[in-house]
Symmetry: C2
Subunit: 374 residues, 2 copies
């Protein structure tokens, strides 16, 4: 079970084995590698989700050197070291935390362990990047916020649907430049392929992954805050539940939420119903409505259209056009490494990182059933 558990993670990251076409949807455009000597050493603690590879790659592109990996599961460590042959395998978490040369730790442990690991990392004087969801309960969030404020360490969450998607990065530049005026609303949809047979047990346990809004919709909450420029926000309404997966009664297969921030409004829908005929794991979209135009991002696939991923469409007061994002840099890795070295806050403001999780944790806590009563 443990040996298989990274594979569905790889699928969720667009790297499903046996689906080579889909596997390269987002990765097909190589990002430039770091030139010159590494800028810092980083370690990895917990590799239960395949996202850890995209996260490690991003930090390496930003000048990081992968020094250590620690995980409880030998099968997962074996897969990881095959992909990263230079990494040292630690015998314990402490061995990573005790290495003073390690400045940054990454984790894609089982979701409910990510917060506690991050707290120990910060208390050990190091910075931290968690896979999303980076926190799975409001109690964890409070503790993480407290320790972060005390230690002044970085607690980042790799919202990969923004940081690792060229069209979304480009949209950020366009919106900042005023291309669509003031942003009024975002609609983010994150459908996912379930692949239930290859999933580990924790995948089905809300207590461990936090629920569908926490798990998946943290991406969309991040993008809502980012594109509306909201620094305060609230949940207007939310739903989450199991509408069509009776074989896993504790699993949540559908969720949605309406959001309202001080910079605009938002809607998010997430689900696990991607059909097998889609050539990637999910037709993720983001529509950004502005006062002077709108942007649509087709993140992973342009259905029955252009090849590849990261599709960006802009309609403004002058024209409607497709924007090629092939040569857009993904800056998160470079920025977070600089933040660690320079004690800056450029990759993602710390308050934003926490507010995105707060929104989905609150949405999850107050979620109604999507199934109508009576």
């Amino acid at each position: 079970m443990a040996a298989l558990s990274m594979l569905p993670g790889m699928a969720a990251a667009g790297q499903q084995p046996g689906m080579a076409g889909a596997a390269t949807v987002e990765r097909q455009v190589a990002q430039p590698k770091w030139e010159g000597p590494p800028r810092l050493k980083f370690g990895v603690i917990g590799i239960n989700h395949g996202h850890i590879m995209g996260m490690s790659d991003a930090v390496m592109r930003g000048g990081g050197e992968l020094a250590w990996v620690y995980a409880r599961e030998p099968e997962l460590v074996k897969q990881f070291t095959e992909r990263y042959p230079g990494v040292k395998v630690a015998r314990s978490e402490a061995e990573v935390l005790d290495d003073a040369s390690v400045k940054l730790v990454l984790s894609a442990a089982i979701p409910d362990e990510r917060g506690p690991i991050g707290i120990r990392v910060m208390k050990a004087g190091k910075d931290y990047i968690a896979d999303k969801p980076g926190i799975t309960s409001l109690a964890q969030l409070a503790e993480v916020r407290k320790v972060q404020a005390e230690t002044k360490r970085i607690y980042s969450i790799a919202y990969s649907e923004r940081f690792e998607n060229r069209a979304t990065v480009k949209a950020g530049e366009l919106v900042k430049a005023g291309a669509i005026g003031k942003v009024l609303q975002t609609i983010g949809t994150g459908p996912h392929r379930a692949g239930y047979k290859g999933r580990p047990e924790w995948f089905f346990d809300v207590a461990r992954y936090g629920g569908i809004l926490v798990d998946i919709a943290s991406h969309q909450a991040d993008q809502f805050l980012y594109f509306t420029g909201s620094t305060k926000a609230e949940v207007v309404a939310s739903q989450a539940g199991n509408v069509h997966t009776p074989q896993y009664p504790k699993f949540q297969d559908f969720g949605d939420m309406m959001l309202r921030g001080n910079g605009g409004t938002g809607y998010v829908r997430v689900d696990w119903f991607t059909p097998d005929g889609l050539p990637t794991w999910g037709d993720g979209r983001l529509v950004i409505l502005g006062t002077e135009g709108f942007i649509e991002i087709r993140k992973n696939v342009d259905i029955a259209g252009r090849p590849g991923g990261s599709h960006l469409f802009l309609s403004d007061q002058k024209e409607t056009k497709y924007i090629d994002t092939t040569n857009v840099e993904l800056p998160y890795g470079r920025q977070i490494v600089s933040d660690v070295l320079d004690r800056t806050d450029t990759a993602m403001p710390q308050a934003h990182c926490f507010l995105a999780m707060q929104l989905v944790l609150e949405a999850q806590a107050k979620a109604q059933s999507p199934v109508m009563k009576g």
Copy 2:
């Protein structure tokens, strides 16, 4: 003012003068004309919105003969008779209602007059088709329901974004045939171009047009009920307000709502922010999520893509493909004429027609402000 007031209506129907390309987006594929003698005579009372032309055309395609038109505004009557030279101009509403040979009356009067006209039409023993919104208050809805039940007449509302859109009609066939399994959710977006300068006064007065959710989102409420197969539904949350049109403080430029029905859930967003660079009045979309696949409809335009309108995409367990809807018949006109003659309920169940309006009237009544406080 009155002379101009039909033009923006024409724009909203995709027929804006001076935008020939946009004008033909949906109309470019000719629907077959009625062959043979007319099946019934119909009259028109109230032509304040250009939708009346699409409605009249649909009924004529279904075998109706346009006998009468009545309107208070001579300028609008002049435009109408230029388009339909054979129509007789009535001197009063009563002249239409008193003609026993007229079986059906259509109206695109100012929205708050459509309900009262329909009540008089039904009491005169005739059937009725209102432009949407067909009812602008919950009190009107109660009275319309009562009179409809007493008279057993048809009170139909021309939800043109379904009835007059080939891709949406085709999607109905696909869903009915089980192409995407059980429908779980619909997301409908209805952005519109404002064209404020050419609009009549009633366009800006919530009391007359009912508010943005009633006015525009009745389309999406209809489609939510239709595609989820819901016969009961409730509003989970709704927002409506003026977020960026300070020059018309009473106008509502943005609205959205979450819906839950006994057949699935829905989300709707409507707005008046279509930019001038879009080659049509609005990039209306409908995404239908099913247990075995999903459908996307790009109703009026495939941005930076294929020409024309009525674009249909299907992703199922086998493949992802574009479906050509060029030769799809729009059956509403034929069906409603048959319903009038045969006393059947095939074009749209009466209960469905009212429930769609009930949903948006309730959403409008409980709508929160989209602007965050504090």
